[in-house]
Symmetry: C2
Subunit: 334 residues, 2 copies
């Protein structure tokens, strides 16, 4: 039968040759080369092996292999300030020529003078005003374009790298490793869902439909002869703290079996994950590397890792990753 | 090299034999056997072929092959009444012993006497009261169990079949055909998201994370020592009419390239789909087969297919499926 098609036979022989050559090499390749061989890596690999091993008492079918990741401080950096807020500040500057009234108005006047502290003195109200002014009023397509254009040129204030290079190499490897093992990976972030979607597929391999985040309301309308969704200056959903389990259920409709976070905002996501039946893995990234990244914890307003969270982690058997001790490399360009 | 492993060689030869045998058979198999060879089938097949053909000017990458389906009246039947409302009525009866006060109270008293017309005389307010009473108060896990238990025993009033057998065989074939061509298929329904998720994977092969629907709010809390999401008697989102594009954007984050509906509630989903760049296919199912299913249109309160929708369809070049003329078979058990 093989003789019927010489091309087909050649293909088979070639395939066989390739398989025989690469199989042993693959078995030896470490899927997490940027991780030290310390407890977190061991816990992750042991977990993945037991839930993917057919016949194991902990086996989980592919469809139920859901892993959720916070974004700010878990997949990419969040200091000296959430990147989305730095985006909003840049937008205020870019839009200022069209808004002469800002020169004398609330947080904008201070911002444009470069006095961030005064701009934020108005607390949550001032922040919300800055965010809504820069995130609403345009269509969803226009906002996507604005985010992409900003990312193409903006640089992180400390490293001078594009923000999309401020992602953690060990987490990129982890996402790829999970995906190779049949997991569906989701972002579940307090950040804006439409701020993340334009780049998560390219950077993390996570498509827009697997991004859960905070959102503002939108309105379907006919504008200039085209049907569009216009972004309104009204909160729709805050995907933080108790909002994370709510967002996971709304969006995914099943409990994750693995969840990764880094701050108090992630506690409820980890509790919800742990509350399901069967084996689960809950993990927190701790920022304790002032040399290679940033060191902050209970005292930080951004990405707070409180003592209470530490106590919860210990009590519940959650894995805590020390960036300093457990990661060989933090950024790909190191 | 092949001689190194006799088992491996045997496997290759077997694989080759299987491939040579089935390849021609596969090429001849009609993926849509329950469709007549009329215009809708031709339009669907032509569309799929051009968007999946590498090098075609209409080629669409796999990641962007998003198809959305309304559920009630598009994937499964919706007469004599939305099945979810029949579920609510059954729940009122099941819960009545725990609610002696219902004997004298609003829509419940009429319902329990079997007088549906009187129960619904209160209009939207009465319906909402019935829905909230039967859909809220329990945890998401408990509600899932209730829906599954109901589906296991409840029967359609006319056909006496389980509701999950009231699905349209041509649409099951279509979903499978699209999936085989790299499409991701989503439900975008006015029905309750958590009413659909317990069975869509088994019945349609559509997992919970690909179901978009109407929802009530939920609250994360600790109940009897377990973290749960409690369903609240408060509307969160209505996924109908202009809500459909909003729901699609919130949940999927990209425009579909194909959309299927059957009623006025789907018009905006089709408009939103059509508004994207590149080629698109918008389709409406029309219920015109009183013998094999039901015949209804502009006069029906359930699944209204108004004259205005018909006009829009014609104007915009949308495909309209006549169940009577375009489908060989409607249900799998015919």
């Amino acid at each position: 039968m093989l003789k019927r098609n010489p091309l087909f036979l050649t293909m088979l022989v070639t395939t066989a040759a390739i398989m025989l050559t690469i199989a042993p090499a693959m078995a030896q390749t470490d899927p997490l080369p940027s991780w030290n061989d310390s407890a977190p890596k061991k816990a992750i690999v042991a977990f993945v092996e037991k839930v993917t091993k057919d016949g194991s008492p902990d086996f989980v079918p592919v469809a139920e292999r859901i892993a959720t990741f916070d974004n700010d401080g878990t997949l990419w950096a969040e200091q000296p300030m959430y990147f989305q807020f730095l985006f909003a500040l840049d937008r205020v500057k870019a839009l200022a020529p069209q808004h002469p009234e800002w020169k004398d108005q609330g947080p904008f006047a201070s911002l444009l003078k470069g006095d961030l502290k005064a701009a934020l003195a108005g607390g949550e109200k001032a922040m919300l005003e800055i965010v809504m002014t820069t995130h609403a009023g345009m269509t969803t397509d226009e906002f996507e374009r604005i985010v992409k254009d900003w990312l193409a040129t903006a640089k992180h204030p400390k490293t001078k790298r594009p923000y999309t290079e401020m992602v953690y190499q060990p987490m990129l490897e982890l996402i790829a490793y999970l995906r190779a093992n049949g997991f569906k990976t989701f972002i579940v972030s307090g950040g804006g869902i439409e701020f993340m979607r334009p780049w998560t597929e390219k950077v993390y391999g996570i498509p827009p439909e697997q991004v859960v985040g905070s959102s503002i309301k939108t309105k379907f309308e006919l504008r200039d002869g085209k049907y569009v969704l216009v972004r309104l200056a009204e909160i729709n959903f805050i995907d933080d703290k108790t909002g994370k389990p709510v967002g996971i259920q709304q969006h995914i409709g099943r409990r994750p079996i693995m969840a990764f976070g880094n701050s108090d905002g992630d506690q409820q996501m980890l509790e919800w994950t742990q509350g399901g039946t069967g084996t689960r893995l809950m993990t927190l990234v701790h920022h304790d590397d002032a040399v290679r990244e940033f060191a902050y914890g209970s005292e930080s307003k951004i990405g707070t890792f409180s003592d209470a969270l530490r106590t919860e982690a210990t009590k519940n058997g959650w894995t805590v990753i020390s960036m300093k001790n457990d990661w060989k490399r933090i950024f790909s360009w190191e």
